[in-house]
């Protein structure tokens, strides 16, 4: 596919969302991915736009006034502990840090800036790797997420532009916050592929969660088994998303690109390699051109092996947006030189993974079979009488 007009949201304002040194969620990932792209020569200054700070009115498109006030108080360490806990703040997952309201507002503003670039026509695609905080609830922080920039961005698209949105969430954790936000809305179709909630947080995302009221049939979940490998993941993802897009025919696609389904990721039990992170954006890109005149906004998300996995996985989203193809071969030596010194683990030297990094999974066949059964369950709702052939 020929190169597209794309914009990359970045400034150091995105890096202040930081709980503490030992916390698994580290926004340095955004810097590592940005630097990798610059060294690879696919990201130039002209492509970059800064995030703006989302206004409180914008944040309240999804979150409750009382919750936003609580986050602002917590930002200054002025929120009583008991009240904080009620709002999901001050927990091990989402600890309070100084300036958390401002830092979170920039992540939200980054996603809104990405939406504006695309919907004003200045760009066809836009990427905000600082966003994708899909666990945030209306009045509760959860799973490292304070403000749910994805849900806010979708509300913003609905109110300002009245477009039908397809939200695609490939994080290994279920995209629950965004799902529940639009569970009764037929104009927002959500699709989340994730490790089954049997063991993994948040525990939801069963295939039978289909939406309610008017929104019934517009929520899609594909829970895949622990230890799922590339082939099974890609088969499920490709088939499901192709059919869902054909069923829903969106005006714009918003993707959440958690990079925690990789076999190196410490928090999940999926077993993919970099192969899926090449295919995920390629399909989103293709479908955006097929159904939405290219309109595609991509966000970051989870990803807890910040050295070996996330920079490469996220950089490939931009490579696909910008030049239509992922990069391959050796990683830029300058990037490796610069960051190997800091990294506690040996950095990979190529864009692709050596397939041998995946351990042998004895129940591979059964796992693939189970995933394809889940896929069949999901597909039942992608067939309507009008497109049944």
């Amino acid at each position: 596919m020929s190169p597209c007009n794309a914009k990359y949201v970045f400034s150091t304002d995105l890096l202040h969302y930081h709980f503490h040194e030992d916390h698994p969620f580290n926004q340095k990932r955004v810097l590592l991915a940005t630097e990798l792209l610059k060294q690879a020569g696919t990201l130039i200054e002209n492509n970059i736009i800064p995030p703006r700070k989302a206004t409180e009115t914008e944040i309240k498109l999804f979150h409750d006034h009382a919750y936003v006030e609580a986050v602002k108080q917590a930002s200054k360490y002025m929120l009583p502990e008991q009240t904080a806990v009620e709002y999901g703040l001050g927990t091990e997952d989402t600890p309070i840090f100084s300036g958390m309201h401002e830092a979170s507002s920039y992540l939200v503003g980054g996603s809104l800036a990405a939406v504006d670039e695309v919907l004003s026509g200045r760009a066809t695609h836009a990427l905000n790797l600082g966003g994708g905080l899909h666990h945030g609830f209306k009045r509760k922080a959860s799973g490292f997420c304070i403000y749910n920039d994805g849900a806010i961005a979708i509300r913003y698209i609905r109110e300002a532009y009245n477009l039908r949105v397809l939200y695609v969430d490939t994080d290994a954790h279920h995209g629950d916050g965004v799902q529940w936000a639009f569970y009764d809305d037929p104009n927002v179709c959500t699709f989340s592929i994730h490790e089954t909630g049997r063991y993994l947080f948040p525990g939801t995302g069963n295939v039978n969660e289909r939406g309610i009221k008017e929104g019934h049939g517009y929520t899609f979940n594909l829970p895949i088994d622990a230890f799922t490998e590339d082939d099974s993941f890609l088969d499920a993802y490709t088939t499901a998303l192709t059919k869902i897009a054909a069923f829903f025919k969106p005006d714009i696609i918003v993707t959440q690109n958690g990079a925690d389904a990789h076999c190196y990721d410490p928090l999940t039990h999926l077993c993919s390699t970099m192969k899926i992170y090449e295919q995920i954006p390629l399909l989103a890109h293709k479908l955006a051109h097929e159904y939405c005149n290219g309109k595609w906004v991509a966000l970051g998300g989870g990803g807890y092996d910040m050295w070996r996995v996330v920079p490469r996985a996220w950089a490939q989203i931009w490579n696909v947006m910008y030049q239509g193809q992922p990069l391959s071969g050796e990683l830029p030596a300058a990037w490796l030189d610069k960051y190997q010194k800091e990294s506690p683990v040996r950095l990979p030297t190529h864009w692709e993974d050596d397939p041998s990094i995946v351990p042998v999974i004895p129940r591979r066949e059964e796992i693939s079979e189970k995933n394809s059964l889940a896929l069949q369950q999901l597909l039942k709702y992608t067939v309507t009488p009008s497109n049944q052939t």
Partner: protein
């Protein structure tokens, strides 16, 4: 947990003299599957299920013109005597009644069979969901521990030390080893790794999928 905590108190009932047609209409209108039959003093004297009513209805393949099957009194098809329970019964006890008797609905009565509520199989399942904690966000951890006194507080102390909120705890016997129990915890965190590490250090055996975390990660 007591029956009175999960029972529904607004019960749709019929007198024994009502017609089968009335029962059919009520079942359809309220999307329910059982109707207790009560006398003038509100005492339970029978029960009809949707299946009883269906059995008494003409087949859709037969012309029912002239048939007055549905005009019979409901008492002609109701089941009796009725197995009933009390508001102070334990939920786990009545689960056994559902299972043993292969029924799906239990009227709740007090003082001489007076109807005060109803519990269905569906209410039981909902309660089970609450007990397992799967309705709230959390991570799931299974640990194999020796079956001996004091083991539960030892394990939960580790969660306490990490300030990890426990949503639910289940204890069940290890299938292949009667000397061991399996403890199942749902904990309110997206990052169970610190707790898992502590549990390992304390010498506990973790079960799938985290048992592979060592070599795999």
């Amino acid at each position: 947990m007591l029956v009175e905590e999960i029972m529904k108190t607004e019960v749709i009932t019929l007198p024994p003299t009502a017609t089968i047609q009335q029962a059919l209409d009520l079942l359809n209108q309220h999307k329910i599957r059982h109707i207790p039959i009560i006398d003038k003093e509100n005492h339970v004297i029978g029960i009809v299920s949707d299946r009883d009513v269906r059995d008494a209805s003409p087949s859709i393949f037969e012309s029912d013109e002239g048939s007055n099957n549905l005009q019979h009194e409901i008492q002609s098809i109701m089941s009796h005597p009725v197995i009933t329970i009390h508001p102070l019964d334990f939920v786990e006890e009545i689960a056994k009644i559902f299972y043993d008797k292969e029924i799906a609905c239990l009227p709740v009565v007090r003082e001489g069979n007076r109807l005060v509520g109803i519990v269905t199989e569906k209410d039981m399942l909902y309660t089970m969901i609450q007990l397992t904690g799967t309705h709230v966000q959390g991570s799931h951890i299974e640990i194999k521990v020796p079956h001996r006194p004091g083991i539960l507080p030892e394990v939960t102390a580790i969660f306490g030390k990490r300030k990890t909120n426990i949503v639910s705890v289940l204890v069940y016997p290890s299938k292949d080893d009667p000397e061991y129990k399996i403890l199942v915890f749902r904990i309110q965190t997206m990052n169970p790794l610190p707790v898992i590490e502590d549990l390992r250090e304390a010498g506990y055996e973790l079960l799938a999928p985290n048992h592979t975390a060592g070599p795999l990660k």
